[in-house]
């Protein structure tokens, strides 16, 4: 729990002939964290002279598998098969890799049958899609033809009319505002015949204009037409299709087109049905096959991370020490002892595997957000598990708010399982908030109720609160005595004062400061252990214990100048100076000039913990304003104002809860990241991610 999992550095050398078996076994075991083999620069420059260890090449079936997976994914996309939808069905039918293998009679590592099936399916779907596209195109074409021919029919155009003639010339095309154009054309000459009808293009008309060749009006007519956005249309092809263009021929043609369209639509529907059927029938197979292929491609590509010589492969990586024996045994068994495995405990660059129990595990989230500890450090997750909710609770500290956030985060946890870790933390923090709420005696910002309400509660629900008389300071500065029923509490956050050295201070701030002192010294202690383990005791004393001695010196100085005796003995300032300077000298030896520069930080860091009290005070202050200054005056007025009062109450508390979640969360996180971690945490670790199956955690 305090330490991350112990790792062994494992180098394995094996003949290439056993490569496939070894990879399969490693995948199955799922414990080997591979360090990719990198060529050193020296080797690269000498490459052409001395053939040494090269970067490995993927297994030969890799290419085939990769192309299969591309096809498979294309199929999944075109057929719109989604994993999460099918996941449950899959599980209920219990198709697993073994049954697929059995069904399709595949031997170990031989996927050619399955790939053949995939290829067939792919070709079929591709054909169907092509077919679908073609039919859609045909339907569109037929539709357009019907529109056009309807217009032709309307205009009573025949093929003969469109023939080149000796005397007559014509324009056919679409234009805007056909009727206006017709009038303008009539203005040019009375011997121009213009027919206008609605075109198949929206908002445009179709015009057929006849005029005499010899009139030489062609130019003028063209100008008028162009002004109306004339667009020439060639109707000959469509008339050709209808035979001579006689009305009965046209009707028959339209009828044929309609028939064709309905046939095509039926066929299209059928194609879609076929596609749907393929989707229904094969989606399980495809999804499972994808999993299988993913696995196999991972296996086929992993040699890229190995080193290889002409006849052997070299693997470099990490295995948890406790699993070492099993791995050794298994690998020796499948290779018939032809593998050389060398393992040693070398903690330098080992990956990190957390070993926290389930209740602490969510807090690893904060380390992922920041930086993972390196292998030689203590894992601070369990420390955050204790102090993060504690700080959050101290800052928010209200029974009502705690209950609201508890409900909110519980609901969110059900709705958004992907944020489970974070929400678990928040739920736990809410519980601590409720606890501190009882400690501070705060319920939605109410610290007390009036004596009358207290009496009613005592009679009705048996909840008897102690009644006090307090001095209320009004706005005018005058004090009046009021009787209130006070909630029981351990500490009054807003009004609890303590006198230190002649100063009248809010006790919650003093307590916060003291928490800071304890927390930071604890951090220094962990830092001390870390340095001791990684270097030696002298370093630990100089780097970490020096900070504690400096604190001690400062305290002694404060006591001596403040003339505060310890027991019966007064303290000479000299004692304080000696201790302080000893501490500073030690720090200089340990951390150099940097340490001296950072000297004031130890005190600013402690003062930083005052925020534990301050953020809470702000939250109480806002709640009190909402309750007493915003809502109460409305309630006292009565009538409709009560509704307004309730509105102000709800909005005010929603805002305060939102601030009360964001503020304490960030401040608590900050206290850990900035003040706490800087005393001992180095970080820079790599997460342990073994090759192979995802481990169930």
């Amino acid at each position: 729990m305090i330490r991350t999992e112990k790792m062994s550095h494992v180098v394995m050398i094996a003949p290439k002939t056993a490569q496939k078996e070894i990879i399969s076994k490693l995948y199955e075991l799922g414990v080997y964290h591979i360090d990719p083999y990198k060529k050193s620069e020296q080797q690269q420059s000498m490459q052409h002279r001395q053939p040494g260890v090269e970067i490995g090449r993927p297994l030969k079936e890799g290419e085939q598998l990769a192309s299969a997976i591309v096809k498979l994914r294309a199929l999944l996309t075109t057929l719109d098969i989604q994993r999460d939808q099918n996941e449950q069905e899959c599980n209920s039918i219990k198709i697993d890799n073994a049954t697929i293998k059995k069904e399709h009679k595949i031997n170990r590592g031989d996927f050619s049958e399955l790939i053949k099936k995939l290829d067939q399916l792919y070709a079929k779907v591709l054909n169907l899609l092509e077919d679908k596209k073609e039919k859609r195109e045909q339907i569109r074409e037929a539709g357009e033809k019907i529109k056009l021919i309807t217009i032709v029919k309307h205009l009573h155009l025949t093929k003969d009319l469109l023939r080149e003639s000796q005397y007559l010339e014509h324009f056919i095309g679409s234009l805007e505002k056909g009727e206006a154009c017709k009038r303008e054309l009539a203005g040019i000459s009375s011997r121009i015949e213009c027919m206008i009808t609605k075109s198949d293009e929206p908002g445009r008309d179709l015009a057929v204009v006849y005029f005499e060749k010899k009139s030489n009006k062609q130019q003028e007519i063209a100008e008028v037409l162009n002004k109306h956005g004339f667009n020439e249309r060639d109707l000959k092809p469509i008339l050709d299709e209808t035979g001579k263009g006689k009305p009965q021929h046209i009707d028959q043609f339209i009828h044929t087109l309609h028939n064709k369209m309905s046939t095509l639509t039926r066929q299209l529907h059928q194609t879609q049905m076929e596609l749907n059927m393929i989707k229904r029938e094969h989606s399980h197979f495809l999804l499972k096959f994808e999993e299988l292929l993913e696995k196999e491609t991972a296996k086929a590509e992993v040699p890229l991370q190995f080193g290889e010589t002409q006849r052997s492969i070299i693997m470099n990586g990490w295995i948890p020490t406790q699993k070492m024996e099993r791995v050794k045994h298994d690998l020796n068994a499948i290779t018939d002892h032809k593998i050389h495995i060398q393992d040693q405990e070398d903690g330098k660059n080992a990956p990190i595997k957390f070993t926290n129990p389930a209740i602490v595990k969510p807090y690893e989230f904060f380390l992922h957000l920041y930086e993972l500890p390196n292998y030689k450090e203590l894992d601070p997750t369990w420390l955050m598990f204790i102090t993060f909710p504690l700080f959050f609770g101290i800052m928010l500290g209200d029974v009502g708010y705690g209950l609201v956030t508890l409900a909110l985060f519980s609901i969110l946890r059900l709705k958004m399982p992907q944020f489970k870790a974070l929400l678990n933390i928040m739920i736990f923090s809410s519980l601590i908030t409720i606890l501190f709420g009882f400690g501070f005696g705060e319920y939605f910002g109410f610290e007390h109720v009036s004596a009358e309400t207290g009496e009613v509660w005592c009679e009705k629900i048996g909840l008897c609160l102690p009644v006090h008389e307090v001095e209320m300071r009004g706005a005018g500065g005058g004090a009046e005595i009021e009787r209130i029923a006070d909630f029981p509490r351990l500490l009054n956050r807003a009004h609890g004062y303590i006198d230190i050295g002649g100063m009248h201070l809010l006790s919650v701030l003093v307590i916060a400061f003291l928490i800071g002192v304890v927390h930071l010294n604890f951090a220094l202690l962990i830092g001390f252990i870390n340095v001791w383990r990684n270097h030696d005791l002298t370093h630990a004393l100089l780097e970490k214990a020096s900070w504690m001695i400096i604190q001690l010196g400062t305290v002694l100085l404060v006591l001596s100048y403040g003339k505060i005796p310890i027991g019966e003995y007064g303290i000479y300032p000299l004692t304080g100076y000696i201790v302080l300077i000893t501490g500073i000298v030690m720090l200089y030896k340990g951390e150099g000039v940097q340490g001296i520069v950072e000297l004031p930080s130890i005190f600013s860091n402690m003062l930083s913990y005052v925020r534990l009290g301050a953020v809470g005070l702000a939250s109480v202050g806002l709640a009190v304003v909402v309750n007493e200054k915003l809502t109460l005056p409305y309630f006292e007025k009565g009538g409709w104002f009560i509704a307004l009062g309730i509105f102000a109450l709800v909005v005010g508390h929603v805002i305060n809860i939102a601030l009360g979640v964001i503020g304490p969360f960030l401040h608590s996180l900050r206290l850990h990241y900035v003040e706490f971690f800087s005393k001992f945490y180095k970080g820079g670790g790599v997460l342990y991610s073994p090759f192979g199956q995802k481990q169930k955690e």
């Binding site: 920041y370 500065g477 004062y497 100063m503 701030l509 900050r670 990241y673 900035v674």
Partner: protein, 73 residues
């Protein structure tokens, strides 16, 4: 009474100005941190730390304000 008012003003100046100072400092750092996070999301932790470093100023302001009020009380 006038004295109490002056003490309150003194405390609020101490707190208010230090809050402004840390706000100005955090503005610049926060902008840069968000820019960095847009490129590399895992920089959240470091960005947060750098952003909140000037917050110490406002804590000092708070402490001074408390001391002013405490000395008066």
């Amino acid at each position: 009474m006038a004295e109490a008012g002056l003490i309150a003003i003194g405390a609020s100046i101490a707190f208010g100005l230090s809050a402004l100072a840390s706000a100005i400092a955090e503005k610049a750092i926060g902008t840069a941190a968000i820019g960095a996070m847009a490129e590399k999301e895992h920089l959240f932790g470091k960005g947060l730390i750098l952003t909140v470093i000037p917050e110490t100023i406002v804590i000092f302001g708070l402490v001074v304000a408390i001391l002013i009020i405490g000395l008066a009380g």
